[in-house]
Symmetry: C5
Subunit: 78 residues, 5 copies
């Protein structure tokens, strides 16, 4: 997993059908990269989060084949 | 997922049989990298898009084992 | 796999349900990157460890679909 | 997928049994990285190709579990 | 796949149970990165090898779910 800090939120009105409803947060990682992660926890801007990537992230969704390759799995206690 | 901006389109007349019909767009990502993503949404040049990568991208195709490791999952509202 | 050195530990009180109980260690890799790996071995700060990444890391968990994409698989003899 | 240009060919007399017969081409990618991809299309030196990576590449092989994580899926029209 | 040169060997006395017996070699890749790959071929220091990564590497092991994300698939003829 990698650490990151939530920097924003994005919206996508035009999307493929299997994109799950829920928050898509922009995160800046420890490494200075930016990515967009699905947020099942309701995280806020500036919150420190733990992100898992790849097919492991998609496996969180059990009822649909969600096209999600980055998932916030926890908020980091500070 | 990562954000990117569509910069072009590519064509491949000589390809393996399982390459799905549809648009293959060149995208420049947030990180300055270039990649080629399958576009199921009909995106235009300069459009901001959200891209998922890896086996999660291939799972979008349910009838064939598509050799697609990057998929545009949405257009980003701006 | 990549080599790394344990540099810290993180806690996450607010997390998704499938995050397994157990240590989440911060590791600095050979390449200078930081990542957070699940530790099934009880490693200590400054210990040199071997880390596997991706869906291979999640496959270690047989009873649940753990959202773990980095796993400490061994401590390196020095 | 990523774009690349074929720069050479490699041979491996000593290999694991499941390595499929066929061309292994050295490719220099858009990003300046070098990788070795399996070539099912008979591409030539200096040809521009489209490469898919990861488990998606291995899924091309239906009869064996090929240890292939990079596959040329098409030649790019220019 | 990526090319690399074997630079050393590592041992891990304290490891998870599913780590397969066999050589764990340190390899320096074409890109200047270091990684540790499982070696089913008995490669020597300074040997040029071809490495596959990710879940494709783990699929080589048919009887156990090996936590191996990098596998030497061949020695490169030079």
């Amino acid at each position: 997993m990698i650490r990151g800090k939530v920097t924003g939120r994005i919206w996508s009105s035009k999307h493929i059908e299997t994109l799950p409803n829920g928050g898509l947060l922009e995160v800046e990682t420890d490494r200075g990269d930016k990515l967009v992660a699905f947020d099942p926890l309701g995280c806020a801007i500036d919150e420190s989060v733990l992100i898992t990537q790849g097919s492991v992230a998609a496996a969180y969704f059990t009822k649909l084949k969600a096209p999600i390759d980055a998932l916030i799995v926890g908020s980091i206690d500070e």
